[in-house]
């Protein structure tokens, strides 16, 4: 029976993102149709959909079961549409496999070393544990949703019923884990600490591989070097408890770790894609998904993301001499503005 549970969970976290990612990737040009882009887009479709579906349910104090049913239906629909309309992008992504074997042995060795560095971190994520006090809030909220079928109406620390935790309710990462737990039957804490930790590290390095492609496109043989350096950078990034690297390596399953390690680099990837003369529809989709996902991750994104993306928009708009471009990018930040207004009104 447990094999069945694990099969469901591994499908949800390893296979399903590839399916969900097909729609955004379909609207990207061929150069961006890579397995890493497919996987990253799939996760962000999942996060963004969850944020859009969960917030109304949470604010309206509906039950967790109702949310789980609604979100599952949305995901199944999204997956179905993705596969039906965009399955052909998989063939484009598979060309990368052939490209790997055409590289020189030095480059392939470089990639081998990069994969080893990352594999070591995945091993550590699964077989080492890190005790963080914030989990007593995060994971308890996931357990409360699973046990009492309510969301953010009980104190995570004590279990008492209380008002409504609006600040954390707008970033329902724990409820996402509760959803994974409900579908798979596996304990939410096992999912977060032993499964999501390594899986989101893979996602993080997928994002960095995509950044490497944008930065070193003309010197692709140096991409593995960039990946090795980034993995070592993260490994030794614990210069203080405040750095993004510390959060990403120690607690990537928490919304703030997701923000630090994955979402902010993905925003930079979006900016690197937006700097091009021709911007595909898929890039705009990715930007919107990332911004909505940033709200899903943490409420600090409500101010931080519009700042980063807004300044980036003005600078790139200045380069492109296009006010229209600036306006379009700023429009993508609307989810942050709407949720910030929500937060201020309900607080």
């Amino acid at each position: 029976m447990w094999i069945f549970n694990w099969a469901i969970l591994l499908f949800l976290v390893l296979i399903m993102p590839f399916g969900l990612g097909m729609i955004p990737v379909k609207y990207m040009d061929k150069a961006h149709r890579t397995p890493a882009m497919l996987y990253a887009c799939g996760w962000f479709v999942s996060f963004a959909l969850f944020e859009l579906v969960a917030i109304p349910f949470i604010l309206l104090r509906r039950s967790f079961t109702e949310l789980a049913i609604a979100y599952t239906l949305c995901i199944v629909l999204a997956l179905g549409i993705s596969i039906w309309k965009a399955y052909h992008v998989v063939a484009d992504c598979m060309e990368y496999r052939r490209a790997f074997w055409s590289m020189s042995w030095i480059v392939r060795s470089g990639w081998g070393i990069a994969f080893l560095c990352i594999a070591a971190q995945l091993f550590a994520a699964i077989f080492l544990e890190y005790w963080d006090g914030d989990d007593s809030y995060y994971m308890a909220q996931a357990m409360i949703a699973d046990t009492y079928d309510v969301m953010y109406t009980r104190d995570a620390y004590t279990g008492y019923e209380f008002g409504f935790d609006i600040r954390h309710a707008l970033s329902p990462v724990p409820i996402y884990f509760a959803w994974l737990s409900k579908l798979s039957g596996i304990h939410a804490v096992i999912i977060a600490h032993s499964v999501i930790a390594p899986v989101w590290l893979i996602l993080m390095y997928c994002v960095y591989a995509l950044i490497a492609e944008k930065l070193l496109g003309q010197h692709r043989e140096y991409k593995p070097l960039f990946m090795i350096l980034i993995s070592i950078w993260y490994c030794f990034g614990n210069v203080s408890i405040y750095t993004a690297e510390t959060f990403a390596m120690n607690r990537i399953w928490q919304g703030k770790g997701l923000m630090a390690g994955i979402i902010i680099p993905l925003l930079y990837l979006c900016l690197l894609c937006l700097k091009e003369n021709s911007i595909s529809k898929g890039t705009w989709i990715l930007l919107i998904l990332t911004i909505i996902a940033s709200c899903f991750a943490t409420s600090t994104s409500l101010m931080l993301v519009p700042t980063l993306v807004g300044i980036g928009a003005f600078l790139l708009g200045y380069r492109k001499k296009s006010l229209r471009f600036v306006f379009k990018v700023l429009l993508c930040c609307l989810p942050c503005v709407i949720l910030a207004v929500c937060y201020l009104c309900l607080n």
Partner: protein
């Protein structure tokens, strides 16, 4: 405003720790400014970073952000692409050199600098070999399992080392206080917590305050000395689980038995 500026500066210093993180970032930015030909890349990495620093050091911006939550303003520094810029700069430097030996030297030096400047994240002071798939102490799981009851969510008071973990394992155990009381800056307090964390347990005080909090269970560490006996104050020892004594309030026991929660 002065307080805000001080807080910003403190955040920068704390973020940097005892390292040259921001110095390396600055050097990498200067390197890119000199060598990067792609003006769009310069815009995204150099000018955007400068603009972000100017905005985040702005006391007005900081004041607004700190109004929402002053404890987490350091997260604004996450938006600086420090890792990307430094690693990209190294890659560019390696590309510049033609000879393999020069490239290898640059790579080796860069890795050495990153390692020497940084702090290995997997030290055995913060990462431990996982005892179970939950990645929480097994003793917390054992105690939580011992406290669980069918059809009833009991309230239990626990030692502070168990507080962060029990409700991660199961939300069925209610507590009079949680990990929030351990964080002194959050300003929570409880006489029951003071008794539980004293150097010596005083059974009479614990029994009194636990009863005031309507706790069904009291969990006490077996290695801490105790003045008096919980049994003298109408508690029954349920068992010793992973080094913790679990006591049940006799009055709660009678009530739960009457209501059919206990056989």
């Amino acid at each position: 405003m002065i307080e805000t500026i001080k807080a910003i500066w403190e955040d920068v210093v704390l973020y940097n720790g005892n390292s040259f993180l921001l110095v390396f970032f600055l050097l990498a930015l200067i390197f890119l400014w000199i060598t990067e030909k792609n003006k769009n890349l310069k815009m995204i990495f150099i000018y955007l970073s400068i603009a972000l620093v100017v905005v985040f050091l702005n006391p007005i911006y900081a004041w607004i952000a700190m109004k929402v939550d002053d404890e987490v303003y350091y997260r604004v520094w996450w938006t600086l692409p420090i890792g990307i810029v430094v690693c990209y700069s190294v890659a560019k430097a390696v590309i510049y050199f033609r000879k393999i030996i020069s490239k290898m030297l640059v790579i080796a030096m860069a890795i050495l600098v990153i390692v020497m400047n940084g702090n290995f994240v997997y030290t055995n002071t913060i990462h431990f070999k996982a005892g179970n798939a939950y990645h929480i102490p097994q003793m917390a799981i054992d105690v939580a399992e011992a406290l669980r009851m069918d059809n009833y969510n009991p309230k239990a008071v626990l030692p502070s080392e168990l507080l962060p973990f029990v409700r991660q394992y199961t939300a069925e155990i209610i507590m009079p206080y949680g990990r929030n009381i351990v964080e002194t800056r959050w300003g929570f307090s409880s006489p029951l917590y003071d008794c539980m964390e004293a150097d010596v347990y005083v059974a009479e005080d614990i029994a009194q305050y636990a009863r005031e909090e309507t706790c069904v269970y009291v969990v006490l560490s077996s290695i801490k000395p105790m003045e008096g006996k919980m049994e003298d104050y109408h508690y029954t020892l349920q068992g010793l689980v992973s080094g913790y004594y679990i006591y049940m309030d006799n009055y709660c026991y009678e009530t739960l038995k009457e209501q059919g929660y206990i056989e």
